[in-house]
């Protein structure tokens, strides 16, 4: 009779076993802030549809220290999301061949981060231009 009895180890708490996994869980966790921020914007949009008084009430609520505090954390979380999104991009996108050479990882990550900075400045500029 076979003495074989392969032992399957538990996966409980696997993400605590390696710093690499801890970082993974943190950057996945930024999604909670993305969701909450989208929820706040959605609430604002509904208030906008309800009229001026409702909109102004929502706008005033944003000055509440709890909201300001939340947005400070959300800013950090989304910035971290941007950074990790472009950091993993050399692994997630198909290779880019330029003049027979594969584009190195740092160029892809750097290019993505530069694009984010440019897009953000354009957004700020457009907002500024529209309301000035």
């Amino acid at each position: 009779m076979s003495k074989r009895r392969p032992y399957v180890r538990s996966m409980d708490g696997w993400w605590r076993r390696n710093p690499y996994f801890v970082e993974y869980m943190i950057h996945e966790g930024t999604a909670l802030f993305v969701a909450a921020y989208a929820g706040i914007l959605l609430a604002g949009l509904v208030r906008l549809a309800e009229g001026e008084a409702a909109w102004n009430a929502w706008l005033a609520a944003l000055k509440n220290p709890w909201y300001v505090g939340f947005h400070l954390f959300a800013l950090a979380a989304l910035a971290y999301h941007s950074f990790t999104w472009f950091k993993i991009m050399p692994r997630t996108m198909p290779p880019v061949i330029v003049e027979g050479q594969r584009l190195p990882a740092w160029v892809i990550t750097g290019g993505g981060l530069a694009a984010a900075v440019v897009a953000s400045l354009i957004l700020l500029g457009v907002v500024w231009g529209m309301v000035r």
């Binding site: 003495k3 074989r4 009895r5 392969p6 032992y7 399957v8 180890r9 996966m11 696997w14 993400w15 076993r17 390696n18 690499y20 996994f21 993974y24 996945e28 993993i88 050399p90 692994r91 997630t92 996108m93 198909p94 290779p95 061949i97 027979g100 594969r102």
Partner: protein
């Protein structure tokens, strides 16, 4: 042991299915020299301290892919991991994570072998060719499209690094998908449509959450994460465009 000999402790996760209900740690003290690999350390234990210790090894030079172990929790080839990098601290050695332990440091790799077979890891010629027609020719660019993915030595470190495989052992996983991509990306091959069925399936690429650790631990710089994620793009394009394409890639 000679007087004044430096020593180091190795903690091994033991499991003998005929006696043990679950694995347990056992610590061995072995003589230490700064040219010793972790593999040499466990070999010393087997040769001098406990002959019942089981582990796989062969080439001792990082090409056979047999001696993968968790070393201080990191999937590593024990032949190219050196005790001096841990000395004087104790080194913890365990069977590769996410696989069932067969005995001590030996894992059960039957599931992986089945996956390897399922990806049809051989060239399925695009068109039949007779000997007299000569060899298939490839440009350096065509070679470059798959060469990196052909370096896999089936050491399974990437599976031990992949939590998604640990959570769902049906996931085809990094090495097999990288090898699958190696054949799909080969200009001589015509088997892509068949292999894509596996890529597109519920056991396929979409189990991956781009943790990226598989590529980090790969001793041959295959970058399996890139192969898997390229095929998410390929699979998604096929998913959305199959109704437009004349033949339709999917079933």
């Amino acid at each position: 042991m000679a007087e004044g000999q430096k020593t180091i402790e190795i903690e091994v996760l033991r499991y003998h299915p005929e006696n043990d209900t679950e694995p347990h740690a056992q610590v061995f003290e072995i003589p230490f020299t700064d040219d010793m690999s972790v593999l040499q350390g466990v070999q010393y234990i087997k040769d001098h301290l406990d002959g019942s210790l089981s582990f796989r090894w062969s080439c001792r030079m990082a090409i056979c892919g047999s001696c993968g172990m968790m070393i201080n929790g990191v999937p590593s080839l024990s032949c190219q991991t050196f005790l001096r990098d841990y000395y004087p601290a104790r080194v913890r050695v365990e069977a590769l994570a996410h696989f069932p332990i067969e005995r001590d440091l030996v894992v059960n790799m039957e599931g992986f072998i089945e996956k390897l077979e399922s990806i049809q890891p051989y060239i399925i010629p695009r068109e039949a060719r007779t000997l007299s027609e000569g060899e298939y020719l490839q440009t350096p660019e065509q070679l470059g499209a798959y060469e990196q993915f052909s370096s896999c030595i089936n050491c399974l470190l990437c599976y031990a690094a992949c939590p998604q495989f640990g959570l769902n052992s049906r996931f085809v996983g990094p090495a097999a998908l990288a090898l699958l991509h190696r054949y799909n990306a080969d200009s001589r091959d015509g088997g892509k449509a068949e292999r894509m069925e596996l890529v597109n399936s519920e056991d396929g690429v979409f189990n991956c959450t781009a943790v990226g650790y598989c590529s980090e631990v790969c001793p041959k710089h295959v970058d399996p994460a890139n192969a898997v994620n390229q095929n998410k793009t390929n699979s998604a394009i096929d998913y959305f465009l199959r109704f437009l394409a004349p033949k339709g890639g999917a079933r």
